[in-house]
Amino acid sequence: MFVRGLKRKCFDGEEDIEGTLAGIKAIPSYNLQRQSLLDMSLVKLQLCHMLVEPNLCRSVLIANTVRQIQEEMTQDGTWQMINTQSTGQASLDRLVSTDILCRSSRDQAEGKHVSAYGTFNKDFESDQAQDSSETMSTASSVQAPRNLQSNVWEMENPQENKGNFQKSLDQIFETLENKSPNSVEDLFSEVENSYYDLDTMLTGMMSNTKMGHCDSLETFSSPTNTASNSNCKSDLNDLDHIVEILVES
């Protein structure tokens, strides 16, 4: 179940390649791992939107994690416009090992409170639809649904820096609402396969065997590739190009 092999932090674009019995492994950078964690968290938020009724505690904890990552990335200056297309289809295919993130990380400066996660709080909002009376002594058991402020998160315009991020989250939930039952199956089957992919990827990362996973590197690495289709598989030339970019960065 757990990742095997050694992984070390990537500094200044140099990569420590550790030879082991399993083959040549490469070490994903901290940034890449952090991005992967962000993607994973977004997928989880999608999934919990699909459940019977989302576990609020879990949703809040995941959302807080997303917020933390975003804060750190904003401070790093690595926060980029997240391609809406790819985020909407964020899948576990693109995950890398996030072992490094389990270790104590660099200091996180006190960030300003990041509010306005309007869109993914939609499922929190929808609970207001039936806010039954928690009453003081004289009230009866009549339920008094509050006026649904259904437009509150739509109307609230995403602030500048968060515009695309929110928009992508928005898309996630719109997409989910329109999903037919069949696509729910697809979403889950996607997830299932991805666990195996993750395994293979972690043992063969950056070797030329598993090219489909270069998508994450594509999206991450450059603004020039913002229109990338997350599902298209790179060919060998693109892979070389990407490795080049990473090594230079």
Partner: protein, 449 residues
Amino acid sequence: FLAGFGSLMQDVLWCFSQVKGTIDTGVTESDIISTVEFNHTGELLATGDKGGRVVIFQREQESKNQPHRRGEYNVYSTFQSHEPEFDYLKSLEIEEKINKIRWLPQQNAAYFLLSTNDKTVKLWKVSERDKRPEGYNLKDEDGRLRDPSMITVLRVPVLRPMDLMVEATPRRVFANAHTYHINSISVNSDYETYMSADDLRINLWNFEITNQSFNIVDIKPANMEELTEVITAAEFHPHHCNTFVYSSSKGTIRLCDMRAAALCDRHAKFFEEPEDPSNRSFFSEIISSISDVKFSHSGRYIMTRDYLTVKVWDLNMENRPIETYQVHDYLRSKLCSLYENDCIFDKFECVWNGSDSVIMTGSYNNFFRMFDRNTKRDVTLEASRENSKPRAILKPRKVCVGGKRRKDEISVDSLDFSKKILHTAWHPSENIIAVAATNNLYIFQDKIN
């Protein structure tokens, strides 16, 4: 006999006593046990499951003929407490899973317990019937009405013995008071009121009144976008009927006094341990989320369970716990994987023994852990069918963290994360524990000499 009351860990050898549930390798989802609770005397042991059923076991009287069968627990009553429901407004199902059971102290021949699912709390009366009235005038033995004009003689109905029947009847249904999922219920020491807590609110009920409740805690922000913290557990003080605590997903505990105000949004005490900056990671908050909070029997301490530790707090010291016990620290380097497979969100419970000297909590691979607060010793035991020979002594287990694995040790990577012990219970005065392992209930007792 009060075996082991206050005894130290080194004197206690735990033995297998019983296991309830099927041996089949495939687990029916609805059979998964979701709560376990002894009543106040330990005579009864109740379990709730995902299918909404409650099973109550009763301890048999000790027999001089079979002293080694020290009061086994046998099924006393089984009933369907909650049914699945559908919320038409939200188009969502309401699960019938029993989240918690709490017993009321016994005040007459009948037993009373509270059971709750995500939305509705019910008060059940469990009573015995061993006599039946016979000889009514207006109806015959089958219950059919007799023609009054055919009655020529009057008689007095008499009670005749019958086979013992245990019946459970719902006496109260406390519904429509929770928008969010109920995670805790707690009976007040006044035995007249109880509280139910969901993710954002806590309500106070009177047992006699089902159509009203008082809202005593509300942490729902005016703007839901600002929601960053939820209530995870709540409990009344065992002696002071005005005092209760609730824990949060940020690892804090608030103690509230209901005498201070009607709405207890201002805490009387706030318990939080300062974060260790060297251990900070993206998962710090998630693993600090408290999954269970329990007062000691004495009322002097509270115990909290977060993902990796159990902590004991002195009510008089808010700035840090007085004791911290590592449950499975070897998981600290695996948090990312545990986040990915959602195990990091598992909610483990914790319990005190009768004398507050030993605490117990569950882990993975069907392991559970006990910590002796006095000797600082701890032990890891396993609930498994292999150790299920009658009165077999449980062998301590050990997880090997790296390097050479000794014989009988198990490596971290071999742990089965689908076998989790979330719910355990400790008899109020004896060394008898009930451990729920998915769909099986294990009962262990200490060794009789």
